[in-house]
Symmetry: C2
Subunit: 123 residues, 2 copies
């Protein structure tokens, strides 16, 4: 069974701050991973939904290769519903401005970017 | 609420074949996305868990940039449990050999790669 998406982050504290304080998720667990010389945190939305695992590889870890952007991870999708406008306004105050806004008679959504440059869909 | 992970794929049919025939997921929906000149498919495991959305951008789409690998998407995690050995054997027959196998007294897991080069954890 598909369990979860695991993203790599440049800085675990900074990424947790984003996923918790901006995206409204909560920390489920955080631990050292001695196998890969890393540190792991798992976040989940307050109201359920899938988890996201954040992986930080310490200096010296064989997985700590230079961080560059690729195309595999298209984006992570969040549903805000009627909190949409309020969310965007709050995110902007916290330094996360939209990088794209789409508004049509039938649809509206926006993208912001997380501290790693990952596109985050707000709908 | 965090909804789903959306990956970009090089070839939708080939990726669906992998996530359905190798990973045992089922197709939930598939549709054209005229907004971004793309085609989208959503897959979910037979026994539940989060969805994964596969995004294919057609030639001419502004999102159809060259596909290169990055570090943001660390891996996608699947739980096989007692089907672990059987799964790896079947995956191998289908052309997906393990790229890493870890076996310790307390843990065992493997990685294969999907048709896009995305690391898939099998545990």
């Amino acid at each position: 069974m598909f369990m979860s998406t695991r993203i790599r982050v440049k800085n675990l504290d900074e990424s947790l701050k984003f996923y918790i304080e901006v995206m409204g998720m909560k920390l489920k667990e955080r631990y050292q991973n001695d196998v890969n010389n890393g540190e792991v945190a798992v976040v989940v939305s307050e109201d359920g939904g899938p988890e996201i695992e954040l992986n930080y590889y310490k200096e010296g870890s064989k997985f700590n290769e230079p961080y560059s952007g690729g195309q595999e991870l298209d984006h992570l999708a969040f549903w805000l519903g009627k909190d949409y406008d309020n969310f965007l306004s709050e995110a902007r105050k916290k330094g996360y401005d939209t990088v794209l806004e789409v508004k049509s008679p039938t649809n509206r959504y926006s993208f912001i970017k997380d501290p790693n440059g990952i596109f985050i869909l707000i709908a």
